[in-house]
């Protein structure tokens, strides 16, 4: 008996030595914190599953989106802003890769949903939204707001999970802006939204033609970014990952884990993964987006306080992130939004980047609340943020995605002029 035990012990020791674990395995405080938060996420997943399959599914997607956003520091505000502020488009290029991946996934799925697009049928749930001045004004306001606040809606959500107090304030601003948009919704509906055309490219160009035109459009933007960068004469290399010099299995596994959990991901990888996740979510339920959900909270709270906007016209027939007022508190989208916060929280714990930090200058709070409000109003009337009206709309092969993107760029340029005047 004893010899057997000794034998197996020495065998395990040999294996451990061979793999490079002769000192045993120790988990640092960051890893333990990350694992504890992951375990909590699993418990919530189990509880969410009790309320229906959709809840667990959306919680899981939320965690994944939040994790990837944090790891690649994917920031739509910086994608647009840095082009004007620094003359480089590193983040914008990552964003373009994400749009390519999502476009391919969306197109494939939509071609199954609507085999014959020439009949004029629109794919249900795709973000094909009415065009009009609301899209233009919404895009410009959103662009200004996201740059002034230092992050768009998704950026604020994942920074909330990293412990940025100002992002919580921005989120409050976004909610206020969405409420203001709800107050003026009927006016916009009567003037523009109700008669705005919903233009889905496959109706006119077929599926293949629309994909080709969309990819060519993204290629043109890419070439424009390269040309713009060449004028500013700057090369931005990604930070190189410096791994361990050892050759053991333990060292290699450690390097692999550090690349994922500690070292920031190249933004292009983040973009590609987010684009793929977006396509998967569309196949599972509907494209990525959350402005409609945040509107639902805002209007719900306003109703409780007796300052609700009353009846809003035309909402039943709008897809994407248009204000959605139905459903109870336990809506699957609630799990998506808080899943994103929690996913980013987990990622920042593993990376050692979590910290509750508040800006020291009071003007930053003014920027957060003001920028957030302007951005929220823009998202309300444009029926989506940088995700719903852009990152899910261009892949929906919808013209409104391109209109919103162009207006975002104009707004971001204006926002950059504003922040350059704020010390």
């Amino acid at each position: 008996m004893t010899t057997n035990v000794n034998k197996s012990r020495s065998f395990l020791q040999t294996v451990a030595n061979e793999l490079g674990y002769s000192q045993g395995v120790t988990l640092g405080s960051r890893v333990r914190a990350g694992l504890a938060a992951s375990a909590a996420a699993l418990v919530i997943l189990f509880i969410a599953g009790q309320f229906g399959n959709q809840m667990g599914l959306f919680w899981t997607f939320g965690l994944a989106f939040g994790f990837v956003l944090q790891r690649s520091r994917f920031c739509f505000a910086s994608a647009f802003r840095d082009i004007f502020l620094l003359g480089h488009g590193r983040t914008m290029k990552g964003l373009l890769i994400g749009l390519v991946v999502a476009t391919l996934g969306f197109a494939l799925f939509m071609s199954k949903l609507v085999p014959n697009p020439a009949l004029g049928i629109l794919p249900p749930d795709a973000n094909v939204l009415p065009l009009g001045w609301h899209m233009v004004v919404g895009g410009v306001l959103f662009g200004i707001g996201m740059v002034v606040a230092g992050g768009c809606v998704s950026g604020s959500i994942y920074r909330m999970g990293e412990g940025y107090v100002a992002s919580w304030v921005s989120f409050g601003g976004i909610m206020m802006g969405l409420l203001l948009a709800a107050y003026s919704w009927n006016w916009w509906w009567d003037w523009q939204i109700s008669r705005g055309p919903r233009i889905w490219l496959p109706t006119y160009l077929g599926h293949a033609g629309s994909v080709i035109v969309t990819l060519l459009g993204l290629l043109v933007v890419y070439l424009l970014v390269l040309w713009w960068e060449s004028r500013s004469g700057m090369v931005i290399p990604d930070m190189p990952f410096r791994g361990s010099n050892e050759e053991t299995f333990a060292a290699r596994l450690g390097d692999g884990l550090k690349r994922i959990f500690v070292h920031g991901w190249p933004v292009a990888i983040g973009g590609a993964v987010l684009g793929g996740l977006n396509a998967l979510l569309f196949i599972a339920a509907h494209p990525w987006g959350f402005t409609g959900e945040v509107s639902r909270w805002t209007v719900g709270i306003a109703n409780v306080l007796g300052i609700g906007p009353g009846e809003l016209k035309g909402l039943a027939n709008l897809p994407g992130c248009a204000m959605d007022l139905g459903g109870g508190i336990l809506h699957h989208m609630l799990f998506l939004v808080w899943g994103m916060v929690f996913g980013s929280f987990i990622a920042s714990l593993f990376a050692g980047e979590f910290k509750i930090r508040a800006p020291r200058q009071k003007v930053r709070y003014v920027q957060a609340i003001g920028g957030g409000t302007v951005m929220g109003y823009g998202a309300g009337i444009a029926m989506g943020c940088t995700i719903g009206s852009f990152f899910s709309a261009i892949p929906s092969l919808a013209l409104n995605g391109w209109v919103f993107a162009l207006c975002l760029a104009v707004g971001a340029w204006m926002g950059t002029k504003i922040i350059q005047r704020i010390p």
Binding site: R73, D82, G150, D238, G264, G352, E353, R360, I419
Partner: protein
């Protein structure tokens, strides 16, 4: 000869980088370089690249969780 200090903790993009660029432009011949303290991880990418544009090399040290010291010195 000494390093000037710049503390941008609490600030988020693009301010850590913008403030660093301003401080670098104000350095005199007596200053050897600039030490920037930040707790905003994206600044670890933006500050070294903008500093390189002005002729400074960067060295990053992790000094807390999360806190970094970026030492910027004139590259020859």
């Amino acid at each position: 000869m000494a390093l000037k200090q710049l503390d941008v903790r609490g600030d988020i993009c693009p301010y850590p980088m913008m403030k660093t660029v301003q401080a670098l432009k104000k350095l005199t011949a007596q200053d050897e370089g600039l030490e920037v303290i930040t707790d905003h991880a994206p600044a670890l990418e933006t500050i070294p690249t903008q500093a390189a544009r002005l002729g400074y090399a960067a060295q990053i040290d992790e000094t807390g969780s999360p806190e970094w010291r970026i030492t910027l010195t004139r590259s020859v």
